[in-house]
């Protein structure tokens, strides 16, 4: 394998990893606050793809991107209100099952509305411009994805660590009940969390689908599961962990395919999940939880 081929593979891997990282953050944030694995997250990501397709048919791309992000965010909050909030005092298992239900609902609803025939993802000209660097060839979005991911994560970290809302989020994730007693508006914090998660899934969706060009009602399933693994790998509930996990899975997966082991590329991801849960259930950066009595 020549040097350019290797570099080309790395570029693909980092770009894929960036999109994974953005989705993984959504899982990690929601888990941190609600102790809920939001199985519908991958499908929110898929729906954002469809929103973009429809928005771009009637608006110029800057407006379309804005509409997509707003609608996706609102949908994330709406799902929380409709399917998770009424179950807040129910056992944790019920809310998780509700999440699985929402996931299937979104998949089948979009199959019904948009049919299973893949829809072409519209091209945003400046994102698709092809760059030639010597023998390397990549579209702008491939290079933009990891950079934008890092920028968004830095902003998110500042938001969580420096603002009042961020403080409330941290408080809720530490102790739900106490935070409530301290006068924190739990519902607002949870809504903000879902909003951020869905917003990032929306951004991830634009980057991911611009690079992959077609959306089906099942486009969100596998990326969703893989990003869940990425979140667990990094330590679920931990934002930098999710980012590292996303990049790691993206790169290793690409390299495995490049080496001709595409048979094992998906298996690897889920093998990683099992090994991680056995060896270090709290993930790479996860804190050790102390059982409180």
């Amino acid at each position: 394998m020549s040097m350019t081929t290797i570099l080309q593979h790395c570029l693909t891997g980092i770009s894929l990893g960036g999109a994974y990282a953005l989705i993984a953050i959504g899982y990690t944030l929601v888990y941190g606050i609600l102790r809920l694995i939001n199985f519908a997250h991958g499908d929110i990501f898929m729906m954002a793809g469809y929103f973009m397709i429809f928005a771009l048919t009637s608006f110029p791309w800057p407006v379309a991107i804005l509409i997509t992000l707003v609608v996706t965010t609102v949908m994330g909050i709406g799902i929380e209100r409709a399917a998770y909030k009424p179950l807040r005092s129910a056992p944790r298992m019920s809310i998780m099952i509700s999440a699985i239900g929402v996931s299937y609902l979104l998949q089948n609803l979009s199959t019904y509305l948009f049919t299973a025939i893949p829809r072409g993802y519209p091209e945003i000209p400046f994102l698709k411009r092809i760059f030639q660097m010597g023998e390397l060839s990549a579209s702008f979005v491939t290079i933009l994805t990891p950079i934008l991911t890092i920028i968004l994560v830095v902003i998110l970290m500042i938001l969580v660590n420096k603002t009042k809302t961020g403080m409330a989020m941290r408080a809720v994730s530490k102790d739900f009940e106490t935070a409530k007693l301290m006068g924190i508006n739990i519902n607002r914090v949870i809504s903000v969390t879902f909003a951020i998660g869905s917003f990032l899934a929306g951004v991830g969706s634009i980057l991911y689908f611009t690079d992959r060009m077609s959306v089906t009602p099942f486009s969100g399933t596998l990326p969703g599961l893989k990003c869940f693994v990425a979140a667990v790998f990094g330590g679920i509930g931990n934002i930098p962990g999710a980012v590292v996990g996303g990049f790691f899975i993206g790169i290793v997966e690409t390299l495995l395919v490049a080496l001709g082991y595409s048979t094992f590329s998906d298996a690897f991801t889920f093998f990683l999940l099992i090994v991680m849960l056995l060896v270090r259930p709290t993930g790479l950066f996860g804190e050790k939880t102390v059982e409180k009595v």
Binding site: T5, T12, T221, L255, V257, S262, S265
Partner: protein, 387 residues
């Protein structure tokens, strides 16, 4: 009280199953025969499966009745979604059997057809495949017939085309665990090597893969003249676009599945020059039935909010249906074994040409249409027959 409600609910749910099954019973004097449609409407092949089903529904609209022993029977289509999944296929097949189907049509996708083949065989219900091209579908199964050509033929046709086009080095991309894709890929490789060509790169990908860049980067390093990538409609535009994005200029070729306007829609300008083989060409109706079909079906497509380009699989779906009717008429019975015996004697002019079955249950088809994408349309290039 609560317990009573639960009991009542359970009872209602259970009885709904009875009603569902009871629907197949004959109603008030009108005799009917049930034809099962075993097709994917969701999942990876949902798009193509739907087009095939449209062909069958249209055929049912054109020929809604069949005569058995001088009596007119209504034909009722019962559809079961096999979800492009081999496990779901078994369930769907069983549900069709239990709904009393006399003949079963389908499926799009060879893998699901192979998976369900044994069920049709065990229950002695004949099945007629429309576009499943893998040899394993009918091989060793006395109850599976099909109206299309086979992959060894199709692979040879494409290999010959590539060779005559001056290609010396080919790369093959196939989908893991997909009988259609890996089968056709193998037949192509074998035929191409026999002609003296060289297969420089064989790449495989997983179902639901959307990122083909790593595979394509490897292919680029091997610099082939042509890339043969038989795969589903969903993956086609991704492979085409990503290949062009990586600066690969080799000719991209594939099999019958790629003849679908959604590929051109999704791949846009990158799809120009893609070459594929298919069963049917609507610009050149081969039979009288075809001329009639083209006219009526275009209107039907518009009614169903589809682009008015006739997909080859719809034509095959139509053919499968009229073949089934012919067999029922010949058999003068709605019993599976009788219909199967009649199928062996069927000889009719379908939309995709004459349909006569060989001892294996495959239609004797020896002609493929090669089409190329030009100016955003599938343009007929030539017909190829291989003996």
């Amino acid at each position: 009280m609560k317990k009573l409600t639960v009991c009542l609910l359970v009872f209602l749910l259970a009885s709904s199953v009875l009603f569902a099954a009871g629907g197949t019973e004959q109603k008030s004097g009108v005799k009917e025969v049930v034809i099962g449609v075993f097709e994917p409407l969701t999942g990876e092949n949902g798009g193509g499966g739907y087009q095939e089903v449209l062909g069958m529904r249209y055929a049912n609209k054109v020929y809604p009745t069949v005569k058995i022993n001088g009596e007119t029977y209504n034909v009722r289509l019962v559809e079961a979604d096999n979800k492009s999944d081999k496990t779901e296929a078994v369930t769907a097949a069983q549900s069709l059997i239990s709904s009393g189907a006399s003949v079963i049509l389908g499926s799009y996708g060879s893998g699901v057809s192979i998976a369900a083949g044994d069920i049709f065989l065990d229950n002695q219900v004949p099945a007629i495949g429309a576009s499943c091209t893998n040899p394993q579908v009918t091989l060793g199964n006395d109850y599976y017939y099909r109206v299309c050509f086979l992959d060894p033929f199709q692979g040879t046709v494409m290999a010959n085309y590539a060779w005559q086009d001056g290609a010396k080095k080919a790369a093959v991309i196939t989908q893991l665990g997909d009988d259609y894709s890996s089968g056709l890929g193998n037949f192509f490789s074998r035929a191409f090597q026999e002609l003296g060509g060289n297969v420089v790169s064989e790449q495989r990908f997983q179902t639901n893969t959307t990122d083909f860049k790593s595979i394509l980067t490897n292919i680029k390093a091997a610099s082939p003249d042509v890339i043969f990538a038989p795969s589903s409609i969903a993956t086609a535009p991704l492979i085409i676009k990503q290949a062009r994005e990586l600066g690969i200029n080799a000719k991209i070729m594939a099999g019958d599945t790629w003849e679908n306007s959604s590929i051109i829609e999704n791949a846009g300008i990158s799809a120009e020059g893609v070459v594929l083989s298919t069963f049917f060409d609507d610009a050149d109706p081969a039979t009288a039935e075809a001329a009639k079909f083209i006219e009526g079906f275009k209107k039907y497509l518009v009614e169903n909010k589809q682009p008015d380009i006739i997909p080859a699989v719809s034509a095959l779906g139509y053919d499968a249906y009229i073949t089934a009717l012919k067999a029922i008429e010949l058999a003068n019975s709605t019993k599976g074994p009788a219909i199967r015996d009649a199928l062996a004697k069927v000889d009719l002019e379908g939309v995709t040409g004459r349909i006569v079955f060989d001892t294996n249950g495959d239609a004797n088809k020896d002609m493929a249409f090669i089409k190329v994408v030009e100016n955003g349309q599938f343009k007929f290039l030539k017909t190829v027959s291989v003996m």
